[in-house]
């Protein structure tokens, strides 16, 4: 079985999402005759796909929906991998576009992979009938070698030097949520308890450069222990984890954080670090190996008997087997995939992609290459060779059919074509379907933002209705990825 993982960019291969989630599974899956291939969405051509399964990962735009629609119709298994929760914040208008995307995608999917049970519950709210599998992030097996020795050395070094090195690593910010450095600052006052003893405490923060703006640095200065700040790289993270005695991993309880996988704690433990967890008990399944309170941590240092130690490696390996084993995860994923069958639920219908204010040329090309229609709504100012465009003033929008799409018009509607007329150098034929007079009003291009938002949902419904009248039944996808709170379809209720 071949699985094509659709990723947003080539660079994404180096991100934790791809590196940990797919990279560590690849070998074990291959042993079971399941081969993962990561393909960036920019160079992905659904017609050329030779895989049996398409797995969509973090591609939050219309291309993934178009690809899912096309491939599910052509007998492929289609799934989505969800490991960041941008979908449960139902009141947040900034994230409406993500909810729109998932609402449009899931009907074309046969399954969903989730990083945690919380994410699985969330998928159930969107699509109760969808098959869902929780895929834990596996740990790097090579990291377990010499672990006992490393743990013993670190403890000995701490006892000798009385210098306690603590690390925090990860993305320090997020455009939508208070996470990363905010969590470190919010829970950081607990670290002051480490200062009461005779230990010199040093905190090293490895994070992305973007998060180190004035407010990010201000958060760090509020910490009760001295902090060294460095830019995150994969190599530096590896070095840091081999140097520090413990990692401080606070987690807040908002949905985005609570739905995360255990991978940071697993990575830290696998690298021979103690883990101090604070806030939301995300790592509860590892509680016997980590610390939830500083006094216990300090006491164990005094006793030179840590929870994660050479003498308790058996417990560690058992826990890893349960929550982060590449072998176990690969096996369960393979078994899950083999239970799935491609249903015949999707009738083969032409895909119609309707572009909102900003058209993505790549999704336009993709839908046309698949024999679908690329449609410019009245809001769309992009200059692409659309198959159908809606133009006109505020009160009388017109459906204009491009030369190449005339053959797709229903036969009985052909007599209603008038033209040609020219738009941006292209020839179009005006289709009068006789139903527009009493319909809701569309907004013309160049309209103000408020009127666009006000009439957008109605306008899109009107457009979809008229397209089906002109071209017959089709699978309509809205290519809307604006940051403005524009509702598409039924997403408002989610």
């Amino acid at each position: 079985m071949k699985v094509c993982v659709l990723i947003p960019t080539l660079e994404y291969r180096g991100y934790a999402g791809a590196r940990i989630r797919y990279g560590r599974l690849q070998k074990e899956l291959a042993r079971r005759d399941v081969h993962l291939e990561l393909v960036d969405v920019e160079s992905f051509d659904p017609r050329q796909m030779d895989a049996d399964v398409l797995l969509i990962s973090k591609c939050h735009d219309a291309r993934s929906v178009v690809a899912a629609a096309a491939l599910s119709q052509s007998g492929h298994l289609v799934g989505v991998d969800l490991f960041d929760d941008y979908f449960s914040q139902s009141f947040d208008s900034r994230l409406l576009r993500f909810r729109n995307w998932l609402n449009q995608l899931l009907p074309h999917c046969h399954f969903a992979l989730c990083s945690s049970h919380r994410m699985a519950e969330l998928v159930g709210k969107y699509h109760p009938d969808l098959a869902v599998h929780v895929l834990n992030d596996p740990a790097e097996r090579a990291e377990h070698a010499f672990l006992g020795q490393k743990l013993a050395e670190k403890l000995a070094c701490l006892t000798d030097e009385r210098r306690l090195r603590i690390g925090w690593f990860g993305v320090g910010d997020n455009p939508y949520f208070k996470v990363g450095l905010h969590d470190v600052a919010a829970y950081g006052s607990a670290l002051s308890q480490l200062l009461r003893g005779d230990l010199d405490v040093e905190l090293t923060i490895l994070t992305n450069k973007r998060s180190l703006d004035a407010s990010g640095l201000a958060l760090i200065t509020q910490l009760p222990v001295e902090a060294n700040v460095e830019e995150w790289t994969e190599e530096r993270e590896r070095d840091l984890l081999s140097e520090v005695f413990a990692c401080f991993l606070p987690v807040n309880s908002q949905g985005f954080s609570a739905a995360k996988s255990l991978n940071r704690a697993v990575t830290a433990l696998s690298s021979g670090c103690q883990v101090i967890s604070a806030g939301y008990p995300l790592y509860a399944r590892l509680d016997h190996l980590i610390y939830r309170d500083i006094p216990s941590f300090v006491d164990d240092i005094a006793k030179e008997s840590m929870r994660h130690s050479q003498s308790r490696l058996g417990e560690f390996h058992a826990a890893m087997l349960e929550v982060a084993s590449a072998v176990v995860e690969a096996q369960s994923l393979v078994e899950f995939l083999r239970t799935l069958t491609v249903s015949n639920r999707d009738e083969a219908l032409p895909i119609v992609l309707i572009h909102g204010p900003v058209a993505n040329p790549a999704s336009h090309r993709m839908v046309q290459s698949l024999g679908g229609l690329s449609v410019a709504s009245p809001y769309c100012a992009s200059q692409l060779k659309f198959d159908v465009i809606f133009r006109g003033d505020l009160c009388r929008p017109s459906l204009l059919v491009g030369e190449g799409a005339i053959r797709r018009v229903k036969e009985k509607m052909l007599t209603r074509l008038q033209g040609p007329v020219e738009d941006a150098g292209e020839k179009f034929w005006r289709l009068s379907d006789g139903a527009g007079e009493a319909d809701p009003i569309l907004s013309a291009d160049g309209a103000s933002l408020p009127i666009q938002i006000a009439v957008y949902p109605k306008a899109m419904e009107w457009i979809a209705d008229h397209l089906e009248r002109a071209f017959g039944p089709c699978r309509i996808i809205f290519a809307e990825n604006l940051h403005w709170p524009i509702a598409v379809g039924s997403s408002r209720a989610c």
Binding site: R94, L212, L223, Q383, S448, L449, P450, A454
Partner: protein
């Protein structure tokens, strides 16, 4: 309509031909005449740009240093390449914004600035100024240079004072005083010893580690040693940097605190010599909110005084600093800004509450409405929870039997997760025989950065029960219930402090503050929308009618024009609203007539209900009979280079002074502090409100003796204003005075 561009431009693919291109032209037979004609056109275009104050050659070169580097003429560059690359000709014209908003120009291939100068300006097309952009200086990861000297002063010539650290005390020393095994210093006088021991006992009581033995309280001899505290501020979450004034006498300051993470062990957490006012002593707190005891001693170790510091979080940068500002602003005493003095007064009151020596506590239950919680807010941090339980003797109500309630009291305060209760409200006791009433609610909103002003919002008592949280969205206002005294009504002390998220609201959040599912809203009541068409421009009126028809439940709504609309708008209204259109000569006639809808809405010039649930939400506010009018904040959207800039235009007027005499608009920044909430306003936004049918007749009747109205404005939903308001609004909502939000700015 797009104007035909005149031939002021070079051909798109043929500007400034080089020799090879020229040769090709000649070869193609286009010849010298064509070349000269194009050159003439280009020269003229360049002259037009140079004459325009929208082209700024110096700015262009400064902004795009690559042009300076290649030494190209900036006008020529902009004409030939710059506009195609999206560069701006000067700070007052945005190429991208102009082309984005004028797609006909973009399609034509005309230079956008030339188009604007020759056609666009006269056609009323906006020119879209370039907004100044701050470029980052050094990125944080790069090394900084040495700081420039900013302050210099002569060094003190006082001799070095040698002093003893507590770690050098020996238990063998005569007269040495120790408490809980900690050596404090020498104290030969028996009475003083008892005072010191009593003060430590009191600290133990205040810290919640002795049930009944209160100790002897503050033991400072004020006649001999006036409060020496000068200043204290948090340098990080757990360290207070303090300065002291011992009137030139070198004094050692030692700070003590019980450590709740070690079962209440007494710890010395700071020690330092203060020989002058600029000396500092850093106090590393075990718990950032627990009380402190300061012991002052001579350099040799003799104890000279003691000071209790019950609430260090009142210091600058502390969680309760906004409360200090509020208390200081309402108190005339000289020490009203002194965190120690105020803390001691509050501590005294708290002691009465917890020992039951006075009346019952004003607040017996503290609850947090956890909707929208991050879980990382201060109120959920272990140190804060410990402080509540141990020091304030109250627990966060979570429905469990183990939650600690204060006995005898009835008052309940409910906060959102981003708030903390003030020391004042938890220390307050209720006078007996009070009548159970709604109480005034005062909220301080502040950032943790103490250099930023805090804002005090006071909700009148009548509104406290009216303003319920919106759906499942986190509450913005605290609530105070079952208080058995009206004494608190006249107090301006906040009951809670909201620690503000520094993040600015995005445009999306201003346009749609809450994504409310239509499913949670009640069935709409139909509305007659009053519109004065003569105040409108034609296009905005048609857009507004479109938007009205897109409102959820609008199929029952009626449009009542006061005056005649233009023909196109009339036709459009007929298409959208069928027979539900009325035309009236004046509003009085309308008010006297029987209307078919229970609600009347006023839609001022240029107002567009961009959110489809807007009228539904406003109508649902009027379900409460106490509310006279419902309105929402108006926002404005302005097209910028790449996107839209959304700002708050009108969020109603509020009171500025306690006597209600000063009314002024709620500023955009203030409105953003209470975003996603309902609040009472002195007068609603002038261009949009909703009332009951009978209210309009009363407003228009000068003889009407209606009581003071209650206008509720919401920022849970917004509408857009697309034209400037000219104030020609009729009818005008009568202003409320006492039943309005009061806003006070607090400066540290």
């Amino acid at each position: 309509m797009m104007s035909a561009p005149k031939s002021t431009l070079p051909p798109r693919d043929g500007a400034f031909p080089k020799a090879s291109r020229l040769a090709r032209w000649v070869k193609q037979g286009q010849g010298w005449l064509q070349f000269r004609r194009d050159r003439r056109i280009r020269s003229r275009a360049a002259a037009v740009l140079l004459e325009s104050d929208l082209f700024d050659a110096a700015w262009y070169v400064r902004k795009y240093p690559d042009i300076a580097r290649v030494g190209m003429n900036p006008v020529r560059h902009y004409l030939e390449f710059g506009w195609r690359e999206g560069r701006d000709p000067g700070p007052r014209f945005s190429t991208v914004a102009y082309l984005s908003s004028n797609p006909d120009v973009a399609r034509s291939g005309v230079n956008p600035l030339l188009h604007y100068i020759e056609h666009g300006a006269s056609e009323g097309r906006g020119k879209f100024e370039v907004r100044p952009v701050a470029y980052p200086a050094n990125s944080p990861g790069e090394p900084f240079g040495p700081a420039a000297p900013v302050l210099s002063f002569p060094l003190s010539e006082d001799p070095v004072v040698r002093w003893r650290r507590a770690s050098n005390f020996s238990s063998e020393e005569r007269g040495l005083l120790s408490v809980d095994g900690l050596l404090l210093g020498t104290c030969s006088d028996v009475i003083h010893r008892r005072q010191v021991e009593g003060a430590f006992q009191h600290l133990r009581f205040c810290s919640g580690y002795s049930g009944t033995d209160v100790g002897t309280g503050v033991a400072t001899d004020r006649s001999d040693c006036p409060n020496p505290f000068l200043d204290g501020h948090y340098v990080d979450q757990n360290c207070i940097r303090t300065r002291w004034d011992f009137q030139g006498r070198p004094t050692v300051v030692r700070a003590y605190q019980h450590d709740p993470t070690r079962g209440g062990t007494l710890m010395m957490i700071g020690e330092g010599l203060c020989a002058s006012k600029i000396d500092i002593v850093d106090i590393n707190l075990c718990n950032r909110l627990f009380p402190l005891l300061l012991v002052f001693a001579s350099p040799h170790g003799e104890i000279e005084g003691i000071l209790e510091f019950p609430f260090p979080s009142l210091c600058r940068g502390g969680l309760h600093y906004p409360e200090l500002l509020a208390l200081a602003s309402s108190d005339d005493r000289d020490d009203a800004h002194d965190a120690v003095a105020i803390g001691q007064r509050l501590s005294s009151s708290l002691e009465s509450v917890v020992t039951g020596s006075a009346a019952p506590p004003f607040i017996s239950t503290l609850a947090i409405d956890r909707r929208g919680s991050l879980g990382s807010e201060p109120v959920f941090q272990p140190d804060f929870e410990t402080w509540l339980v141990k020091v304030m003797r109250i627990d966060i109500e979570d429905g469990s039997a183990a939650a600690r309630r204060r006995p005898n009291g009835a008052g309940q305060v409910v906060l959102s997760p981003d708030m903390i209760p003030t020391i004042s409200v938890l220390s307050r006791w209720a006078p007996p025989a009070g009548e159970v009433k709604d109480a005034k609610v005062v909220l301080a909103v502040a950032e943790l950065d103490p250099s930023q002003p805090a804002t005090l919002f006071t909700l009148p008592a009548e509104c406290a029960s009216t303003l319920r949280p919106l759906g499942d969205y986190p509450r913005v206002w605290p609530s105070l219930a079952h208080v058995s005294s009206n004494d608190f009504r006249n107090d301006e002390v906040p009951i809670a402090i909201r620690l503000r998220d520094q993040r600015q609201l995005t445009g999306a959040e201003k346009l749609m503050p809450i994504c409310l599912s239509r499913a949670v809203l009640a069935a709409p009541q139909s509305i007659t929308w009053l519109i004065w068409p003569t105040l409108w421009l034609e296009q905005p009126l048609r857009e507004a009618l479109n938007a009205l028809s897109a409102q959820t439940g609008s199929h029952h709504d009626v449009v009542a024009f006061v005056g005649s609309p233009d023909d196109a708008s009339w036709e459009l209204a007929k298409r959208l609203f069928g027979g539900r259109i009325e035309v009236w000569d004046n509003v009085h006639g309308f008010a006297r007539a029987e209307t078919s809808t229970p609600l009347i809405g006023y839609l001022g010039p240029g107002v567009i209900l961009h959110e489809v649930t807007c009228s539904l939400i406003l109508a649902s506010l009027l379900d409460d009979p106490a509310i006279t009018s419902a309105s929402c904040a108006l926002v404005e959207s302005e097209r910028t280079a790449k996107t839209w800039q959304v700002s708050v235009a009108d969020a109603g007027s509020v009171r500025r002074e306690t006597d209600g005499t000063a009314l002024s608009p709620l500023s955009p920044a203030e409105a953003e502090l209470i975003w996603r909430s309902n609040y009472p306003v002195a007068s609603p936004p002038g261009d949009l409100w909703l009332i009951r049918r009978r209210t309009l007749a009363r407003w228009l009747d000068p003889q009407s003796a209606e009581g003071e109205p209650l206008h509720i404005c919401t920022t849970a939903v917004t509408a857009s204003r697309t034209m400037p308001s000219d104030g020609r609004v009729a009818p005008i909502a009568p202003p409320a005075t006492s039943r309005s939000l009061q806003v006070t700015s607090l400066l540290g």
